[in-house]
């Protein structure tokens, strides 16, 4: 299916980057409206408490204060199943108590200090296992196990698979709570015009989350609510919750003036959404030759005070265990548990990197136990284009659902083998890798690898409108958000390609419910594959209409020389991405080279190769930037980043960049990015998911490299010097 493409696959300049470089690009907190006030939030100092008495009189008397909002002022309608705008029960240190709108931020902060709150402090629980014990403090009335049951997905029968196994391996793994914290903190600005509301907000779901939530909670017809996300300063799967939008709208209504709220950095860490801590137990059975007969993963996820998108996070933990290796029997069990921690939510890759960490470390151990090179082991056992063994359950005339567990369904394309071979070649695996733990001396080097599979984008609805104006300009309107990944550019490329016009003729409008068709949340690495497919079809629709008008005119369509009518030509399309016949997944193989200083436990990453099958690469430079950025982001999480909580009071101890240990410009080597695979038959122009896959194999690639260097697999993330030293010590692999 090689096609001659003019714009897709070409590295055009990222749209909007010049404005960003010049400092002209406006983000939510850069916006001002006439008469605008500044809002600040009073947050709970207790992990679990009930408001007994609340007195705002003094705060209201502060000159410059226009409104104070408490739980007594807000509609008791739910934002999410477990979330009200404000309520007298507080569930984590940082939960919203009250808000103030004032003429400056400092006045608002002064007033916050004058709100008198009497709390009844309740017993709190911070650990997921403890939260499941009988008699544990109840975070929500319906119980601490979210949904009241364990999520179970199974293909075949793991019981039978273990019965058939010659050998069974089992380990436990732990990954930490950490924060995505894009450079831009959450912000929102609300303005009322009578009973019409406009909200500008940092949001990756202006249609699906914020607008719907605002209309429902405020009791407004949908058409009276407009939500706009201007430029967004980093999404990483975050910034989708509706609470901030609702509160800023209520505060603005009470104040009678526009109000802007901008989170401080500390608030972003604590009251944003972080990645849930995970405890995992993985059991794998194999035949004598190493062929897996059963893979069984159990995860307990600490969701914090509100579950947000946490169930999706949990579900994704199982993705690798269910799909990465050819295996007739696989099961994933996930428990999502409320605690009095800051709320978890979605963060790039959701649970997939966590489950992959457990899986790819244990598979490395299995290869070592068998005396097989881990590359050969994976080449032999990774899932192929045929998909998993077993019977298809989805009726053949239906688009395959989001994440089916069934076998008998092939992949539309599967470049895992190419990724493994290209990555191994680049890092010099065959030439340079020594047996695990063979090194001596203080500085020990090792090579490690890990694979990744990621379902991206399919099974979602995408809508697009492509408008050709009489002067030959093209406007593409989609409801998704460019969270910083560059989808504006990608969608413009797809429209230009489909219409056969230069890209500078295209203007892309996104993330404004007043100007774009509905859209799902920008999530799951779905924009290129879903919205891109809709843009392609809408452009083809517009082109067809235009060609019909100029019927009989020679050859190519050129909007500039075809001003045949005064009205715009509007092409529209609505698609459900994916196919009846195939699963469409992205694949990756990562290779890390590390040096471990066994005196102090420090890990240095010397080289890192990331080979990806994301189908056709629509924009090579943007894609490389995405992969490199994702890997670096996760190298920081692998080695350092963690959100620490005071275990007695639940106070977040390091809610800032330095102590959360954000990756800097001098920490890691350049990431070597490879795209060895070809186009996919399902995605638009052969593209597959790209945004999240780069983060999926990182934890395990580093862990396996450390094991190659030292002979010890780390099973507790992050791999701090202390943990490295402890692991080496326990295994007697220290100085010799």
């Amino acid at each position: 299916m090689e096609q001659d493409l003019a714009v897709v696959g070409v590295a055009v300049p990222r749209l909007g980057l010049a404005e960003k470089v010049r400092g002209q690009a406006r983000y939510t907190a850069d916006l001002k409206r006439p008469g605008m006030l500044y809002g600040r939030v009073l947050r709970s100092p207790h992990a679990h408490a009930r408001i007994v008495h609340l007195d705002t009189a003094e705060a209201e008397r502060v000159p410059g204060v226009h409104a104070v909002l408490t739980h007594q002022d807000v509609p008791q309608r739910r934002i999410d199943a477990d979330l009200l705008p404000l309520e007298p029960l507080l569930r984590f240190v940082g939960d919203e108590v009250a808000l103030v709108a004032a003429e400056s931020e400092v006045i608002a902060e002064d007033a916050l200090r004058l709100i008198r709150v009497e709390y009844e402090v309740l017993p709190a629980v911070f650990d997921a296992e403890e939260g499941l014990q009988p008699g544990a403090p109840s975070v929500h009335p319906q119980g601490n196990l979210v949904g009241g049951k364990t999520l179970v997905v199974e293909r075949g029968s793991v019981a039978q698979g273990f019965a058939e196994a010659a050998q069974v391996f089992e380990e436990t793994f732990h990954t930490q709570m950490h924060a995505p914290v894009g450079m831009e903190t959450r912000a929102a600005l609300a303005e009322w015009d009578g009973d019409r509301l406009t909200v500008w907000k940092t949001s990756r779901a202006v249609h699906a989350s914020d607008r719907q939530t605002l209309a429902r909670v405020l009791g407004l017809p949908l058409e009276q609510v407009r939500v706009i996300c201007p430029n967004m300063g980093g999404g990483f799967g975050n910034k989708d919750e509706g609470r901030l939008a609702v509160l800023v709208a209520l505060l603005a209504r009470k104040a009678g003036r526009p109000v802007r709220i901008e989170y401080s950095r500390a608030e972003e860490f604590v009251a944003g959404r972080n990645r849930q801590e995970a405890h995992m137990r993985l059991k794998i059975g194999i035949q004598p030759d190493g062929t897996p007969t059963a893979i069984d993963l159990h995860a307990t996820m600490n969701a914090g005070a509100f579950v947000a998108s946490g169930m999706n996070v949990t579900r994704r933990v199982g993705q690798g265990a269910l799909y990465l290796y050819t295996c007739p029997n696989a099961r994933f069990e996930g428990m999502t548990v409320y605690t009095n921690r800051p709320a978890g939510g979605s963060f790039r890759g959701l649970g997939a990197p966590l489950g992959h960490f457990a899986l790819e470390v244990l598979m490395d151990q299995i290869a070592a136990a068998l005396g097989v090179d881990p590359l050969d082991y994976r080449l032999q056992h990774h899932v192929t284009s045929a998909g998993q063994p077993g019977q298809r359950r989805t009726p053949p005339d239906q688009v395959l659902p989001d994440e089916p567990v069934e076998g008998g369904v092939p992949f539309s394309s599967n470049g895992m083998r190419e990724c493994l071979l290209a990555g191994a070649e680049r890092i010099g695996w065959r030439r340079r890798r020594q047996p695990n733990g063979a090194g001596t001396g203080m500085l020990r080097r090792g090579l490690g690898l890990a694979m990744g599979i990621y379902k991206g984008g399919t099974g979602r609805e995408g809508e697009a409108e492509v408008r050709i104006t009489p002067d030959g300009r093209v406007q593409v309107a989609v409801g998704g958000v460019d969270v910083g990944q560059g989808s504006t550019t990608i969608l413009a490329q797809i429209a230009a390609e489909a219409l056969g016009v230069p890209i500078d003729r295209i203007n892309v409008v996104m993330a404004d419910t007043g100007r774009t068709p509905p859209a799902h949340v920008t999530a799951g690495s779905s924009t290129t594959i879903t919205t891109g497919a809709a843009v392609k079809l809408a452009a083809e629709d517009a082109k067809r209409q235009l060609l019909a008008l100029v019927d009989g005119l020679p050859q190519a369509f050129d909007p500039e020389v075809a001003p045949v009518r005064r009205e715009d030509i509007v092409g529209t399309a609505r698609v459900t991405s994916g196919s009846n016949a195939y699963l469409t997944n992205a694949f990756a193989a990562h290779f890390a080279e590390v040096e471990v200083d066994i005196r102090n436990g420090r890990i240095r990453v010397l080289r890192y190769v990331a080979a990806h099958d994301s189908g056709r690469i629509v924009h090579p430079r943007l894609a490389e930037n995405q992969v490199s950025g994702g890997v670096l982001q996760f190298l920081g999480i692998t080695l350092r980043e963690e959100l620490y909580l005071d275990k007695h009071r639940g106070v977040t101890l390091n809610a800032n960049f330095l102590e959360h240990k954000s990756t800097s410009i001098v920490d890691f080597p350049p990431i070597e990015v490879l795209f060895p695979a070809g186009p996919d038959p399902v995605g638009p122009y052969g593209a597959k998911a790209l945004g999240e896959p780069p983060v999926v194999p990182v934890l395990a690639a580093v862990a396996n490299a450390v094991a190659n260097a030292t002979g010890v697999w780390l099973r507790d993330v992050p791999f701090t010097p202390q943990r490295v030293l402890q692991a080496i010590h326990e295994h007697g692999k220290g100085v010799r």
Partner: protein
Amino acid sequence: MDHTPSTVAMNFGPQRTQLHLEVNGQSRPVDVEPRTTLLDVLREQLDLTGAKRACDRGECGACTVLVDDQPMYACHLLALQVRMRKIVTIEGLAEREDFRRLLEAFVTNDAGQCGFCTPGFVVAAYAALRRFPEADAQQLRWELVGHICRCNAYENIVAAVSDAGRRR
């Protein structure tokens, strides 16, 4: 005035003052409290929002401006401290002829993703290239070490700044 005890208690420190700051070559009147930062004055009173408030505590560099040609964190300066000093923001730099090479190099090298940290990096890069016109990539990397990019577009940023240095 309503002098109830609580509003008297609200009298935090010295009063507001009017002063002039020299920003991007112009003298601009501003109205500040002693605790008002340079960053907040630039963003809220002068609507110069290119300097971003990302950490507000001197950790990330997104608010970097030039003060007497030195790159500084605007969140870590009080407005009162920078009277009589020449402040240049990204908006001011973008007007200069010698800014073009940085602009072109950043776009060519795709040296940004979400763009929120970008103006801070660019201001620091501008200052670094002026101070060390011969700097190699490694030195430039260390010149930019006070800046955080959570998209981790670091390598492209280093490539862009090195590239701009060569374009002199």
